[in-house]
Symmetry: C2
Subunit: 204 residues, 2 copies
Amino acid sequence: MKKLGVLLSGRGSNFEAIARNIADGKLKAEIAVVISNRPEAPGLETARRLGLHAVALPSKGLPREEFDSQVASILDQHNVDLVVLAGYMRLLSGAFVKHFAMRIVNIHPSLLPAFPGLDAQHQAFEYGVKIAGCTAHFVDEHLDSGPIILQAAVAVEEADTAETLSARILKKEHRIYTDAIRLVLSGEWRIEGRRVVSSRMPLR
Amino acid sequence: MKKLGVLLSGRGSNFEAIARNIADGKLKAEIAVVISNRPEAPGLETARRLGLHAVALPSKGLPREEFDSQVASILDQHNVDLVVLAGYMRLLSGAFVKHFAMRIVNIHPSLLPAFPGLDAQHQAFEYGVKIAGCTAHFVDEHLDSGPIILQAAVAVEEADTAETLSARILKKEHRIYTDAIRLVLSGEWRIEGRRVVSSRMPLR
């Protein structure tokens, strides 16, 4: 069974969705450990309630490299195959990204490369897009910039507010993040340039 | 009957689609004049074949303001209600945009604000997006930046090349551009911030 290591900083609703999908047999994997850089993150409480290893590792005051190295140790102790970010509010150091090269995934509430960074749904709504969405992607050391695994579109409706739109995007996030993790764990993909391509496709 | 003025620089496949939709009764409007800044543009030939006023107005060597002022005169002579860009490879001067404020529309082959500029479909394909698309928008003096009227999403398929993807996007362009023109001509919209909102929606 492939092992996931979840990093979060808050509620971790995508973590909850993944845990639920595992429980429902929709994703064959186990969550080996859940780590939060914020001890007060509600996601840690959820992890404990689900009987998972939950580790609070305060990042405050630590240099990035030092903190990331501690996180990497814990992930390695648990033999994690894939690092799953779920509302993890930190950029990762180059060393961390290198250590887990193409084994770190994230979900972002916009159709990247549009609207990277915080509050992507509000950014998109205020910009006036008619198609919003979300993106599951590999993580590199830059903000929301790694190769895209899956995306889903969400149409902006006339009566939408930023909040109703965000809620519909979140539902899609819960769905495609699990699909993306399943695809990555299957190993049936390769990278061409920065495109994630099914390994069933012939080389061009 | 509302009058359209089409500006193009090449084949103008979106112009052809609009002309076809008008002929089929799907869009109640008439094309009052077609202007190309390139005398050799195949779109001019198409316009003549359809019995439309076709004007070749070479931009070469002319200062932007001067050229745009000539274009504006021709559009005004034909009492144009809406200026429709169809592969028009020029930025518009501030004076032109002001003269036709919120009466200039364009279609762009990406989900703006992602991938503005040339070769948007190739940019998107090489970036590795899984959801591509197109955008009908109002035009201001900046590149591909005005308020968005309509967008359509196009899923990138495993077997796609940049060319097959472009072809599917183009089909969507032909559909949503006509829909966007119909919406703008109806007058049933307003601008909130930079969002295009149906005027049937109550003010927030």
